[in-house]
């Protein structure tokens, strides 16, 4: 069996769906973070496989950007999370609903 780009795309779609589903159904902010990372990396996978398929470097370059932004996002996000946990002793996003209109 030859593993073609289509398989990678399929895998990426599955990983993205798992991530999205996780965000929708999990309450723990830390787990939601992990799901976000999962979705980001699913997108990375599509970029790399598309780049390889087309024979350009554009995909890989884009992935580097995504990785950098994701790293920065994790730093900020985790810092917020730690500070929320210190104050509220919970990481459940449903209890952090003060911004409701």
């Amino acid at each position: 069996m030859i593993v073609t780009a289509g398989w990678y795309m399929g895998l990426a779609a599955i990983l993205f769906a798992i991530g999205a589903l996780g965000i929708l159904i999990r309450r723990n902010a830390l787990v939601m973070f992990m799901c976000v990372e999962l979705m980001l990396n699913a997108v990375n996978l599509t970029l790399i496989s598309a780049g390889r398929e087309l024979g350009t470097l554009d995909g890989q370059v884009s992935v580097f950007f995504v990785l950098v932004v994701a790293a920065a996002e994790v730093v900020v996000g985790l810092a917020i999370l730690v500070s929320v946990f210190r104050n509220r002793a919970t990481a459940s996003v449903d209890e952090l609903a003060e911004l409701s209109g």
């Binding site: 999205a20 965000i23 929708l24 309450r27 939601m32 996003v93 003060e98 409701s100 209109g101």
Partner: protein, 632 residues
């Protein structure tokens, strides 16, 4: 000689310096020093003007132009002085009579807590009026025109704590504004036609540039402005109310100087009116109607100052007849003599009011001759002068106007007849006033001790009385001194003159004198008798008397026709349009935004997972739309 003419700007600068200086230092100078300083400054202005006017007396001297500051040269709107015999005559009247009235005010305003403020305003008025008459272009004239309006407002409502005085000031200002609009539009037409506002650019070229239609339009628009400032029909209603101001103000502004500005403007614009005989006839008609209209009202007034106010309106009507028919010298002559005798009469009435603890109702005066002989005798001279008794000032000037109207022929005969009847009424009401105030039994209330006024007040009275006696002799059929004096200013204008020959002069003058004598005699005979017979006389006139006493209810008419609809419109604008439409639009938009916000508010649940789900749905929708777009 040129040096003094070049420094004629001092005539404006001196009273202006007085106004500024007294504004800051007047309180420190105190009473009566502040008044004397103001008097000295306007007196100095008179001296400068008198010396600078000498070349005109020698005769033939042309206009001198002095550029003070190039303000807007492209419009011809600069601070520039035109010193010719016409502006010289006006300047001498304003500063001369002004000096006397300033001096008089020192005594009259004695004890007023805003003594120095009064002289600030008075000096400012003098500077403004001199700006008006010395201007070398219409822009500067308009500057002075508006400034005298402002000073009139300030001085009419000088005792602003009295609601009636505050209201009178507002009325004077607003009615004048109506006229000013007409004048301003007239100036715009002038500028559109000539491309400049300077006298030399406009008046010297009027014949080449203006068509008859444009000249008529300008003439009528100037008339609107002049009717406002000079209190002619239909804009005269502010002047009787303006009597709320202190009496020296009434004498200076509302008799001798400011109200004559309209006459001056028309005389100055003579080249334009020469091109528009129709406009001139309208001016003369307005003047004739005003003369007889106001004279009839003056007959039945009981307030000593109201009589004089309506008399002023009536006399200004004569001047309008003169400038309307093109007898400019006669108009300026009457303007001058009127400044003398009406200034005198107002100051005399002020002297009476001063002595009687502010009593102005002539029914409560009477028998004052013994108590204040100087005032009584000087006012008698003023009364006879305005009545037209030979050889006093008013006889010569009024007769020249009437004779000129007669000399014009045609429509002039009607103007002459109306003027003659008005002259009879004038003699009647002025004699009535003098007799009611100074003769008969004393009708004043207990506790009033009338006394002759202080010397600072009687000296101006005496000077003006002398001027009223002999002032008319400057332009008699025996010797036309004023005519020669003014001739260079009206060069190239064909003026209307009285008919030639001594016979016609004697007949016309005789008729005028007859009218005056009938008026004086009947006024004396009716009002010399006790009060009960006054009532009988008034009853004989019946409804007419009531009409006159209520000034034909013009104020009520204007109130119903103009003021009430204006108020109604304002109310609609303020309380209906503003609250419903303007505020409604604003609150309506706000309510709409609030509504929409309320409707979509539940979307902001505060649950991160909700947002994520919406985000996902949105993304999927956008992607799906793109994909479908690509495929189909």
């Amino acid at each position: 000689m040129n040096a003094i003419i070049d420094s004629v700007w001092l005539v404006i600068a001196l009273p202006l310096a007085g106004a500024v200086g007294l504004h800051f230092g007047g309180r420190r100078l105190g009473e009566p020093m502040a008044g004397y300083v103001a008097t000295a400054l306007i007196g100095a202005a008179f001296a400068v003007a008198a010396i600078a006017a000498v070349p005109f007396i020698q005769g033939g001297e042309q206009a001198t132009h002095i550029m003070l500051w190039e303000w807007m040269p492209s419009l011809g709107a600069n601070l520039e002085i035109q010193w010719d015999s016409l502006s010289a005559l006006m300047t001498l009247i304003v500063t001369g009579v002004g000096t006397l009235i300033h001096l008089y005010s020192v005594g009259y305003m004695h004890g007023d807590e805003r003594f120095h403020r009064f002289f600030v305003d008075l000096n400012l008025f003098a500077a403004s009026m001199l700006t008006l008459v010395l201007a070398g272009n219409f822009a500067m004239l308009f500057l002075g025109w508006e400034l005298v309006g402002l000073c009139s407002y300030l001085l009419v409502s000088f005792w602003y704590t009295r609601p009636s005085a505050a209201a009178a000031g507002k009325k004077a200002f607003i009615v004048n504004r109506i006229g000013d609009v007409g004048f301003m539009v007239g100036l715009m037409v002038v500028f559109a036609s000539f491309g400049t506002l300077s006298y030399t650019g406009v008046l010297d070229r009027a014949g080449d540039v203006l068509s008859t239609g444009t000249a008529t339009a300008v003439g009528l628009l100037f008339l609107v402005g002049a009717a406002g400032k000079s209190a002619q029909i239909p804009l005269y209603v502010w002047l009787p109310d303006a009597m709320e101001g202190p009496t020296p103000v009434s004498a200076l502004i509302h008799a001798a100087t400011m109200v004559t500005a309209g006459v001056y403007v028309i005389a100055r614009s003579a080249p334009i009116y020469t091109l528009a005989p129709t406009a001139g006839m309208v001016v003369a008609t307005v003047g004739a109607l005003t003369a007889i209209w106001a004279a009839s009202i003056a007959i039945a007034q009981n307030d000593i100052k109201k009589v004089l106010a309506y008399s002023t309106i009536s006399q200004l009507g004569y001047m309008f007849i003169a400038v309307g028919i093109g007898a400019y010298t006669a108009a300026m002559f009457h303007l001058m003599t009127h400044a003398f005798f009406k200034g005198l009469l107002f100051l005399g009435s002020g002297s009476v009011i001063h002595a009687m603890d502010d009593e102005q109702d002539m029914r409560k005066l009477g028998g004052l001759f013994r108590a204040m002989p100087v005032t009584a005798l000087t006012m008698l001279i003023g009364t006879l002068a305005i009545s037209g008794i030979v050889p006093l000032a008013g006889f010569w000037s009024k007769d020249e106007i009437l004779a000129s109207a007669f000399g014009m022929g045609g429509y002039g005969y009607a103007l002459w007849l109306v003027g003659l009847i008005a002259a009879l009424l004038t003699a009647f009401y002025m004699t009535r006033q003098w007799v009611m105030v100074f003769l008969g039994e004393s009708r004043w209330e207990d506790g009033v001790h009338p006394h002759e006024s202080p010397r600072s007040m009687t000296v101006p009275l005496l000077v003006l009385a002398v001027l009223s006696l002999v002032g008319g002799l400057v332009n008699t059929p025996f010797r036309f001194t004023l005519e020669h004096f003014l001739a260079p200013a009206f060069e190239g204008i064909s003026q209307i003159h009285p008919p030639e020959g001594w016979t016609s002069f004697l007949i016309l003058a005789g008729l005028s004198l007859l009218a005056a004598v009938i008026g004086v005699a009947s006024g004396y005979l009716v009002y010399r008798r006790p009060t009960e017979s006054w009532a009988r006389f008034q009853d004989q006139l019946g409804g007419l008397w009531t009409q006159w006493e209520n000034a034909y209810n013009i104020d009520d008419l204007y109130g119903a026709l103009l003021v009430a609809p204006g108020k109604r419109a304002t109310e609609v604008a303020a309380f209906t349009f503003d609250t419903r439409v303007i505020d409604g639009a604003a609150t309506g938009v706000a309510a709409l935004v609030r509504r929409i916000g309320g409707a979509i508010q539940p979307l902001q649940s505060g649950f991160v997972r909700n947002y994520a789900a919406l985000f996902l749905i949105g993304t999927v929708a956008v992607v799906a739309w793109l994909v479908i777009g690509v495929w189909f």
